[in-house]
Every structure is written in structure tokens, then in C-alpha cells.
């Protein structure tokens, strides 16, 4: 009986088959943009191409903080040394904005990043700069740790998501497990209720997160590849809930990764020193 596509054992079976076909190997790690259970995600669509062998380690809900632990990086390094992938695809950072917070158990960390609504302030001025700068620093340091441990073994490709939407739609797992929403309740708790203004605040968040990634690429051009996904998804058509694209939306994003795997990864690999 064929197993579910999200089943880790099934994924290993497909990887083993593709490896026997001597397809170029790619290791993937990260969150639900690579491991969305209810429908095909980015890596599922890339697998559909039949051109790469994907060793998949991603887990829906994972955070950069968890991925960058010494134990996890050690495990990944062991696999990378054995499998020698062309690159590591990493999807991470989004869930770090939605970790639980003690002062408001019904909300998530993104509530801390927001200030109470003030009609006299711009979207950017509604971000709590102290809290948001601290979070960006945490994420950046975790990514630096990842680069330090794995960057010398294979180039790391990281995306900065597209502009999220405060739709208030829950995430449905396998038809019955529900989670969220996370963004809309936090914004409404701060009195930010105007949808266009909510979108403007989220644009600032995503733009600044992408700037962090772009800076890391400039600092580590031989081991870090930043993929800009902003503007890939249509807000009206391509979002299933607050933080996940639809099946077609993920396919659109996957096309950008095809270009990265075909062109940018080989270009970076050509300038890297061979792994001893």
C-alpha cells in the first residue's frame, strides 16, 4: 500500500530511488512551506520535476531556533557529509514569529512586535522596534550558526516568504486538525482592524526579514543564497490561510526554486573550494 506523501519513511523511499537514478542530490530542512501536510508544497512540486533527489528533513511548525540547535545541526552535517548534496534548501524564520507567549496564551509572539493602533502613525511605526529588532537579531544569529556549521559543506538556499495576509483563516491538517489563526487575532488585540493597514504592516515585517537574508548573502556569498519570493503570490488567489499558499501558490514558488537550482546554485558551487 503506497504511503502518504508527507510520511517521512515514504520520503526516504523516494529519495533512495532517486539517488539510485544518480539524480543530483538536494537536502531540505525547514517548516511547513516545505512540509505542508494538507496539500503539495514547494518540495513536493520540485520532486514532481523528476530532476533531483531530495533528502527531506523538514517538519511543519519548525523554527530557526530549533533547526540551529547543536544536536540538529550535527545530525544534518552527518547526512550532508555522507550524501554530498549540491545544496541545502532551508525554509525557516516564519514560525519564530508565532511561538507562544506567556503573557497572552491565546496569542502568539507577533503580538509583541505590534504597538497599539495610532491613527497618526505609519505602518512601520506600528512595529515595536525593540521587540522586532531583538527577534531579527535572534533569527540572524541562528542563521549564522547554521552557515558556520553547514555552509562549508554545501551552499544554503534560504527564502524570505511572500507578504503574509491577516485573513483569520485556520490551518486544517489532514481534514480534521485545526490550528491558528495567529496574525489577525494579534492585530485585532492591538486595535489594528483595517485590512489594508494590516497588509501594510505585514509588508514592513516581510521586507525587513528579507533585508536580513540579503545582508547574510552579501556577507557569505560562497555559502548563502537568498531567494526573494516577494510578489510571487497573488493576495486574492494564492493564499489558503494566513501563512500558507494554496497548492497553485506553492507551485508558483517552486518555479522560482527551479531557477535557483538550475542557475544560482551551480554558479556558487563553481566558486567554492572543493570539500576535502
Amino acid at each position: 500500500m503506497p504511503a502518504e506523501p508527507w510520511d517521512p519513511i515514504e520520503r526516504d523511499r523516494r529519495y533512495a530511488s532517486a539517488r539510485r537514478d544518480r539524480l543530483p542530490r538536494v537536502l531540505t530542512e525547514g517548516d511547513s512551506w516545505f512540509d505542508y501536510p494538507p496539500h503539495p508544497n514547494i518540495i513536493d512540486w520540485l520532486e514532481c520535476e523528476g530532476r533531483w533527489a531530495f533528502k527531506r528533513l523538514e517538519k511543519s511548525g519548525d523554527t530557526v531556533r530549533n533547526i540551529a540547535t547543536e544536536a540538529n545541526l550535527g545530525m544534518i552535517a552527518t547526512i550532508v557529509r555522507r550524501e554530498k548534496p549540491d545544496c541545502i534548501l532551508l525554509s525557516a524564520g516564519g514560525n519564530d514569529l508565532f511561538v507562544p507567549i506567556s503573557e497572552r496564551p491565546e496569542l502568539r509572539w507577533i503580538w509583541r512586535a505590534l504597538l497599539p493602533f495610532d491613527s497618526g502613525k505609519s505602518a512601520a511605526e506600528h512595529l515595536n522596534s525593540a521587540a522586532w529588532d531583538e527577534k531579527k537579531t535572534e533569527i540572524r544569529l541562528d542563521l549564522v550558526r547554521i552557515i558556520a556549521q553547514l555552509g562549508k559543506l554545501a551552499p544554503i538556499v534560504v527564502h524570505g516568504y511572500d507578504y503574509l495576509i491577516a485573513s483569520g483563516v485556520k490551518v486544517r491538517y489532514d481534514g480534521f486538525r485545526l490550528a491558528g489563526p495567529w496574525i489577525l487575532p494579534s492585530m485585532e488585540a492591538r486595535g489594528i482592524i483595517d485590512p489594508p493597514f494590516q497588509r501594510d504592516i505585514l509588508r514592513v515585517l516581510i521586507d525587513e526579514y528579507n533585508e536580513v537574508l540579503a545582508a547574510l548573502e552579501r556577507a557569505h556569498p560562497d555559502s548563502f543564497i537568498y531567494v526573494d519570493l516577494r510578489g510571487t503570490l497573488s493576495p486574492e488567489r494564492d493564499w489558503l490561510n494566513e501563512i500558507h499558499p494554496t497548492e497553485d501558490g506553492f507551485r508558483r514558488v517552486a518555479r522560482k526554486f527551479v531557477d535557483v537550482l538550475d542557475n544560482r546554485v551551480p554558479a556558487v558551487r563553481r566558486v567554492r573550494e572543493p570539500i576535502p
Binding site: 519513511i9 537514478d21 514532481c48 489532514d174
Partner: protein, 271 residues
């Protein structure tokens, strides 16, 4: 009849293989696997092989050096109650060739092959030896709006080539849901799988054993619920699955009364 079966297989394989060759390399199910289990009442295509507990076993291994997607499978059902009436052990050797048509989301495959059966038992309810041609079409669909990732649909066909050219046809649907519990060094998964099938055939069955072959028609309606625990090491090359199963078969009267069964299975996959 045998010639027409060969032409039918060729008519499916050749265009499918040509279509597959135009795409990237889609993965095939070609890992080495071993399984062993117990079942309270062994049933093969709704035909009872016994009324007491039996051991089921099997091994599947790829034969890539001959053809990519080619797999050899050996399976066995051995009744533990040797003195019980209507007891039939059964052992089979199958050669299956998988042609993947679509990979990734909503996978689709065609499988063609042949199976040989040996039933070394006194009170036989199926022929002692036979060979059959087999074919299957597998395709996955999803219902995005309901968050249903996969409904697995299967159409199986088998035609006996040696004895009386009996045919068996089965359409099945499978749906599953589960979750994973990842740790750094070991990943656990729990999956519940429900499979339902409707089958048609012109098998005689044990009740009509001495009569002319019946017309092609109703064979059985089957349902199986399986709860499976999976375990793998992300950095490893071996995974295990442990499953418990509850099944029931409502079958045409020529095959005997309706039957239910429970079972458990342990399997190991080598990547």
C-alpha cells in the same frame, strides 16, 4: 487468451513507458522490504485460506539490474492450525514492473506483472498451482478545500493463465491521516489508513468448486482499517513499520459467508 493478455499488457506498457521517458526521472517504489505478521483468519481475494490464525510473510526486492521499476516479491500464508478443515497454505512469487506516470503530488503509476501461486495443502480451496497476469493502475487525488491530502485510488486486475482463465477485478479507495513526532535522531509517525474495495470475478470459489465457471459478476466488498506506527532515523537507511489491522469482507455466497479478521504486521524497509 494468453496471447490477448500479452497484447493487452503491451498496449498498456509501451505508450506508458514512452510517456514516462519524456519526463524527468520519476521515482519508483524499489526499496528492499521484509514483513512478517499474524492474521486471525487468512483471506486471499475474499477466499478463505483457513479459519484460524496464520502467519503472513513476505519479501520484496528490486531487480534494477534488469529494469528500473522491476520488483520481485515472495509472499507466504502459513496456517498455524494444521488440523482445521478448509486449511490452505499459499505461497506466491510475483514479478511486478512499475511505470511511473506522474511523481510528486498526485502520483500515478501503472503496474504490470505476473504471479505464480503454490498451495500445498490437503483441503484445498484454491488450485494447487497457477500462474496469473496482473495489472494495476494507481493514482492519488487530493481535495484541497477539505485539507485532504491524498485519496489513493487503485484498479487491480488479475487473469489466471494456466487453469481456467478466471478473471478478478477490484477497485479500491484509500484515505489516511496521521502525524509525525520528530526528534533529532529518531522520527516517529502514526497513521490511520482506511481502505475499501469492490471486486468482481468469475472465480468458482469453494461452494461452486465442482460446477461450471460462473458468469463474471459480484465477488466481494472489503474494508480494512489499519493503524500504523512508523519509525526511522533521519540519518539512517532503515525504517520500520508496525501495524494492527481490522478487516471485513462481505462476499458473494459462492465464496462462503461474510468474514471478519484482525491482524498485525511488522515490516522493515531498507533504503
Amino acid at each position: 487468451m494468453k496471447t490477448s493478455a500479452i497484447w493487452l499488457i503491451a498496449a498498456v506498457v509501451m505508450p506508458a513507458a514512452a510517456a514516462g521517458a519524456q519526463r524527468g526521472r520519476l521515482p519508483v517504489d524499489d526499496s528492499l522490504g521484509v514483513l512478517v505478521g499474524l492474521v486471525s483468519r487468512p483471506v486471499w481475494r475474499a477466499i478463505s485460506l483457513g479459519d484460524e490464525t496464520a502467519v503472513v510473510s513476505g519479501i520484496a526486492f528490486p531487480v534494477r539490474y534488469l529494469a528500473r521499476g522491476l520488483q520481485l516479491e515472495l509472499t507466504g500464508t502459513t496456517n498455524l492450525g494444521r488440523d482445521a478443515p478448509r486449511t490452505t497454505d499459499q505461497y506466491s512469487t510475483s514479478v511486478r514492473y512499475q511505470i511511473p506516470l506522474r511523481g510528486g503530488p498526485h502520483r500515478r503509476s501503472v503496474i504490470v506483472g505476473a504471479s505464480g501461486y503454490w498451495t500445498p495443502e490437503v483441503a484445498r480451496t484454491v488450485p494447487e498451482q497457477t500462474v496469473e497476469a496482473i495489472g494495476a493502475v494507481l493514482w492519488n487525488v487530493g481535495v484541497e478545500k477539505l485539507g485532504i491530502r491524498t485519496i489513493g485510488l487503485t484498479l487491480d486486475a488479475a487473469r489466471d493463465l494456466r487453469r481456467e482463465n478466471a478473471t478478478w477485478l477490484s477497485g479500491a479507495a484509500m484515505i489516511s491521516g496521521g502525524t509525525t513526532f520528530p526528534r533529532v535522531t529518531i522520527e516517529h509517525s502514526i497513521v490511520a489508513v482506511l481502505r475499501v474495495a469492490l471486486s468482481a470475478s468469475d472465480y468458482r470459489g469453494p461452494v461452486l468448486a465442482d460446477t461450471p465457471r460462473p458468469a463474471f459478476g459480484s465477488h466481494s466488498a472489503d474494508a480494512v482499517l489499519e493503524i500504523e506506527y512508523g519509525r526511522r532515523r533521519p540519518a539512517g537507511t532503515v525504517a520500520t513499520r508496525t501495524a494492527i489491522q481490522v478487516g471485513g469482507t462481505a462476499r458473494h455466497r459462492r465464496l462462503g459467508p461474510d468474514v471478519g479478521w484482525v491482524g498485525m504486521r511488522y515490516s522493515v524497509l531498507f533504503f
